[in-house]
Amino acid sequence: MMKSSIARPVSVAGALALSMLLAACGANGTADGAADGGAGGPKVTITSPADGADVSMPFTLRFTTSVPIGPPDSGREHVHVFTDQDTADYTVVTSPSFTIQDLPPGKHMVGVTLQHADHSPAGASAQITVNVTASGGAGAATAPSGGDSGGSDGGYSGYGGGY
């Protein structure tokens, strides 16, 4: 008789708890004010619009990074753009400009975080506040620009790393 006994009991609850713990350990940092990866670390800076600027929809967000960015499957860093502190709902951006659409009138925070190719935080982030004076629509969704200055794909959002 052969009875399979591959491992000692490992509870499903334990595995899920472990995964949650690990997920929490790897959670993205938030863009709480401009930050960089420390001395010599990577940097990301929003160059346009200015902090506190009045904007009308849509508007172009421009930023610079101290490291080359590209699609995650190229192994390069990329940027997550999000609005109003919602760091879980973001757009992957792989060029230095990005068109933001559909923010309702009023004050909004726009944040960027530099991410490694594996989507872990690279440690650099920046944020601005803008005052939307005219809106193209409801909601707070961001959408790719389709390519304006500095990039051919202003908002690469179709990536799937699969890891």
């Binding site: 591959i6 995964s19 192994g75 709902d89 990536y159 890891y163």
Partner: protein
């Protein structure tokens, strides 16, 4: 057949196919793998940044969930290999065996899936299971290995290569897992009742055991004391 009478009120005999440790290990692995498949395919489909219901439930982006659960699977595999060495050896030995009659079993398999009339084989696993075990375990090993490489490297040219391998391994493993779930769920007529081998006590109807693993069922019957 080593059949056991159930406690009072339950009169149908049954035979234990997998012990408790194996069932829990299997359950933990498939739960983590299902989460990884769900989050991984979501990323492949280009939905990164839009939280899935699972990501919303856990309060973390899908990418973070995928990395965290990937680590959990790696730890689980390590625990399984270290603490279940004997079981792993048996699993490997039983999966790698090949008999001349296995080709006949495979030839009859497509019809047997619907009729339940499988050809005889003498293994602990049937020949189809053995092939699946080998390819699926190798595929999962590649996924875990490249996944660890991806999270440890963070980026760079080697990362890009590992990413490609990781993705292609996903393409290979996904249909195998889907097929395994289809068979193991017991919805196919030939495999009716088989789902119990890994769930709810791991006890099978002896008829199901004889239909799917005739020689193993016979050995069970011979080796176990009556009663």
């Amino acid at each position: 057949m080593a059949t056991r009478r159930r406690p009072a009120g339950r009169s149908r005999p049954s035979v234990e196919r997998n012990d408790r440790r194996t069932r829990w290990f299997h359950a933990a692995v498939y739960l983590t793998v299902l989460v990884l498949l769900a989050t991984g395919w979501r990323l492949i489909a280009g939905n990164e940044g839009t939280p899935s219901p699972l990501a919303t439930l856990f309060g973390t982006p899908d990418t973070t969930l995928h990395r965290g659960v990937g680590w959990a699977l790696a730890v689980l595999v390590l625990i399984g290999v270290v603490l279940g060495r004997k079981g792993v050896r048996t699993f490997v030995a039983e999966s790698l065996r090949w008999r001349p009659g296995d080709a006949r079993w495979l030839a009859r398999w497509p019809r047997a899936v619907f009729t339940g009339r499988f050809a005889h084989h003498d293994g602990h696993f049937d020949p189809g299971q053995r092939l699946l075990n080998v390819v699926m375990v190798m595929g999962l090993a590649v996924l875990v290995g490249t996944g660890l490489g991806l999270v440890l490297l963070h980026g760079g040219p080697v990362f890009a290569v590992l990413d490609r391998v990781h993705r292609w391994a996903t393409y290979v493993v996904t249909p195998l897992i889907a097929g395994h779930v289809l068979v193991a769920s017991g919805v196919l007529p030939g495999y009716r009742g088989v789902w119990r081998s890994m769930h709810l006590g791991g006890r099978l109807d002896p008829e199901v055991a004889r239909r799917l693993w005739p020689a193993w069922a016979e050995r069970e019957n011979r080796d176990r004391p009556p009663g």
